[in-house]
């Protein structure tokens, strides 16, 4: 018989390396037509980080995402970056990109200020324009300012910057210190059906409520959460590298190493909670890794809720769940007999 259960799991997860330097650098060049080129040493490995970094540069310059072309991942042409690891790109590389764009913007403001008859401090970059704060009708197109900067003033608007998260070393005896600049938080709730005659678990639904600071691109955040959950489902129920007694892997292929397919995925609902981190670029923290952290725990709690057994080792295969159900029945039978 199928038994339904639900389980909650919360988690916290840090952004960046543990109590050690993990800097990023970036270069932003504003072109003479008001578009821009961003140089970053990070690598796009699927997360959409280049799009997020383009959005950050665009935001700082008051232009659109499509106006920013990103050049990445070439040690000859792009600045140093610690790379696509530790959920650090949006926060660490993003901060470097924001600062680099602001440095380029500073040049634009210095050039535009006398032309608009104000101090640079009174200017803002918005909707492709450099304009006077509070008087948006007094403006110049950002491209005209960039062209003037390069062609008349001889100061091409190029900015570069580095960023390294603020951390403190841990005490080797007590582990006390500040290992990370910031953390994100999440809760996932799973609903499962457990067949108590076979031990088979079907994940029906996962509700995921995640903090990533202020989302730079909600669509890409959802994509990360959905993908992380699929990895979590595999970790909870299916995936395991198995070795024989001589230390050779028994299942080094996708025929025998089972990972989630489209048929294994539950319906997934993603919520991004309201959050803003003053230390992140435009309030953002990060989202890559934390998405897969609480899924298995939520599913295992749902199994417990459904059939009353606590599976203490992953993956919770049907064999393992069924063995736990049988052990529980044997225990209950004993109690009845003893009673």
């Amino acid at each position: 018989m199928k038994r339904r259960g639900r389980g909650i799991a919360c988690m916290w997860y840090p952004i960046g390396f543990t109590a050690s330097a993990n800097p990023s650098a970036a270069v932003v060049k504003v072109n003479e037509d008001g578009t821009a080129t961003l140089l970053t040493g990070t690598v796009e490995t699927g997360q959409g980080s280049l799009t997020v970094l383009a959005q950050i540069a665009a935001q700082a310059l008051g232009i659109a995402t499509d106006d920013v072309h990103v050049v990445s991942a070439d040690t000859d042409t792009t600045p140093m970056d610690t790379g696509a690891i530790a959920s650090r790109t949006t926060y660490v590389t993003g901060n470097a990109v924001m600062l680099a764009a602001e440095n380029a913007k500073k040049i634009l403001f210095e050039v535009a200020a006398p032309l608009l008859g104000v101090e640079p401090a009174h200017l803002e970059a918005k909707d492709h324009k450099i304009q006077v704060k509070g008087f948006p009708q007094r403006n110049m197109h950002i491209g005209d300012v960039a062209e003037h900067a390069r062609g008349v003033k001889g100061t091409p608007p190029i900015g570069s910057a580095t960023f390294n998260p603020a951390v403190l070393k841990l005490d080797p005896e007590t582990g006390q210190g500040k290992p990370f600049a910031t953390y994100v938080y999440a809760t996932q709730i799973a609903e499962v059906d457990v067949d108590d005659e076979t031990g088979e678990v079907e994940v029906l639904r996962i509700v995921a409520s995640h903090d990533c600071g202020a989302p730079i691109n909600p669509m890409l955040v959802e994509g990360q959460v959905e993908g992380g959950i699929s990895m979590g489902v595999g970790f909870a129920l299916q995936e395991e590298m198995l070795f024989d007694s001589s230390g050779r892997l028994i299942n080094p292929n996708l025929t025998n190493y089972i990972m989630p397919t489209s048929l294994d995925m539950p319906s997934v609902e993603v919520d991004i909670v309201d959050s803003y981190d003053e230390t992140g670029p435009f309030g953002a923290k990060g989202v890559g890794e934390p998405t897969c952290v609480s899924t298995a725990a939520a599913i295992l709690n749902a199994i417990h809720n459904a059939v009353g057994v606590r599976v203490t080792s992953l993956p919770a295969t049907a064999e393992k769940v069924f063995a736990a159900i049988q052990a529980k029945r044997a225990q209950e039978a004993k109690l009845v007999t003893a009673g």
Binding site: D211, A214, G247, V273, A297, L300
Partner: protein
């Protein structure tokens, strides 16, 4: 041309030679691509909006992916390119007595063979430099590479590695991390000790905390070894110029450190290494270290031709990093209301054959192991040990999914025993702004309760706070 002469010197049968040359010529795509390319297509609205932040902007690389236009490493072909394959040890622990490559070298179509002894600096690793590029004296796990071949086709390279004969002096592998943890186990990785990483987090007084607790819960949890399974296998292409500069196209997710690792293993200045990662077909932590890069660079240097190496799917499983299996002992003391008063944790991480990113995983697992909860009395201790299995390294979450499984399972055990709603017990213990973390850090922008409440409302959890 020069290399054909080299093959001929080995007096290969004329027919076989012709065949291999013919095969090689066929590798070069002779025909123009059969695909019209849309050059002017609409830019989606969200990419044109200001302010840019907060927009559901589409990805320019996403369009190329859907058109089949993204150039992954295996989609590159350079003229004259050779194909490399790496021979795997297939034994988990052994001393290498000899490696005989003569028969492989004599095969028509084989241009060069590489062994570990030829690598200028045959070690690397993000913290401990305990991993060889190709094992030359000692095998620590079955996926260790022991030799590599560059040939005119992938097929010939695959056949050639079968002809390489390695003589081993077999050693008994240690596969169980708890066995490795025991001091009497001989050093798996001498001179390094079996326990190659250790971390402690101490806060408050656990003895006092447990004494004040109304209930104490104890349980051991275990997790398994997991592979990243990026859909794109690890790959790289190397090509040298006449100034002694090498360009490596690679699936690495971290080119800054990749370049320094390559320069170090090759023994050349970093200014002579150019590393380019195009779009990488999935990483999840598994593409954070060099694998094939020094091998293709050295084979390319030996042959004067570009060399490509692509992991097979079995290579991906046995010789790339994996997720650490953990053995996690949790002891938690709570008040009768469900407030956590003390927690003691011991984590043993199966570190596999090499250190890789174990130190980071150890640190994050230990720091995060208490969960997002206010616990005044805490003692968490973590060890990572060598075993003769595939090395464990960085994988999405660095130990966090493992410890979350343990602390959240125990949270529900407590809730069940005390008859408290799982939502309520979490809200009772959760961090808030200004909470002190296990390392004594004051936390900011904390929204644990917000995520709990929002998820409960969306799910329709009975009695969800509104």
């Amino acid at each position: 041309m020069e290399k054909k002469t080299v093959v001929a010197e080995k007096s290969a049968p004329a027919q076989a030679l012709l065949e291999s040359v013919e095969l090689e010529l066929l590798r070069a795509p002779a025909l123009a691509p059969l695909s019209p390319l849309p050059l002017e297509v609409l830019v989606p609205e969200a990419r044109q909006q200001t302010p840019a932040v907060g927009q559901r902007a589409t990805r320019p690389d996403g369009r190329l992916h859907g058109l089949g236009q993204t150039k992954f490493i295996d989609d590159f072909y350079l003229p004259g390119m050779l194909f490399a394959k790496i021979k795997r040890a297939g034994v988990a622990s052994a001393r290498i007595v000899s490696i005989d490559t003569k028969e492989a070298e004599a095969m028509p179509g084989v241009v060069a063979v590489l062994t570990g002894a030829e690598i200028p600096c045959n070690s690397f690793g993000p913290s401990l430099k305990d991993q060889p590029v190709l094992a030359d004296t000692r095998v620590f796990h079955a996926g260790d590479g022991v030799a590599a071949v560059a040939a005119v086709t992938e097929q010939i390279a695959a056949e050639a590695i079968e002809k390489i004969k390695v003589e081993y002096e077999m050693l008994t592998p240690v596969l169980d991390p708890l066995e490795s943890l025991k001091l009497e186990t001989p050093g798996l990785h001498a001179p390094n000790p079996n326990i190659y990483g250790h971390k402690v987090i101490k806060k408050g007084d656990i003895a006092k905390g447990f004494a004040e607790s109304d209930h104490i819960f104890e349980r051991t949890f275990r997790t398994q070894m997991v592979e990243h399974v990026p859909l794109e296998p690890h790959a790289s292409v190397a090509t040298w110029d006449a100034n002694g500069r090498v360009t490596i196209y690679s699936t690495l997710g971290r080119i800054t450190l990749g370049r320094s690792d390559v320069a170090r293993t090759l023994g050349i200045p970093m200014s002579r290494v150019r590393m380019i990662s195009t779009i990488v077909g999935g990483n999840f932590g598994g593409k954070n270290e060099i694998t094939t890069e020094p091998v293709v660079a050295l084979l390319s240097k030996k042959t004067g031709r570009p060399v490509k190496c692509l992991f097979t799917r079995p290579d991906e499983f046995i010789s790339s990093t994996t997720r650490h299996p953990l053995i996690m002992d949790y002891k938690t003391g709570v008040s009768k209301e469900g407030k956590i008063l003390a927690r003691q944790i011991r984590l043993v991480l199966d570190g596999g054959a090499y250190c890789s990113w174990s130190e980071t995983t150890l640190g994050k697992a230990c720091i995060l192991s208490a969960g997002p909860y206010n616990i005044e009395n805490l003692y968490a201790e973590a060890f990572v040990v060598y075993t003769n299995k595939t090395m464990t390294g960085a994988m999405r979450g660095f130990g966090a999914p493992q410890v979350c499984f343990a602390y959240e399972s125990q949270m529900d055990d407590i809730a069940t025993a005390l008859k408290i709603d799982p939502m309520e017990i979490r809200l009772l213990n959760a961090f808030t702004n200004g909470s002190l973390s296990p390392t004594g850090q004051t936390l900011h922008s904390v929204v644990v309760k917000e995520t709990l409440i929002q998820a409960a409302q969306r799910f329709g959890w009975n009695g969800a706070p509104s």
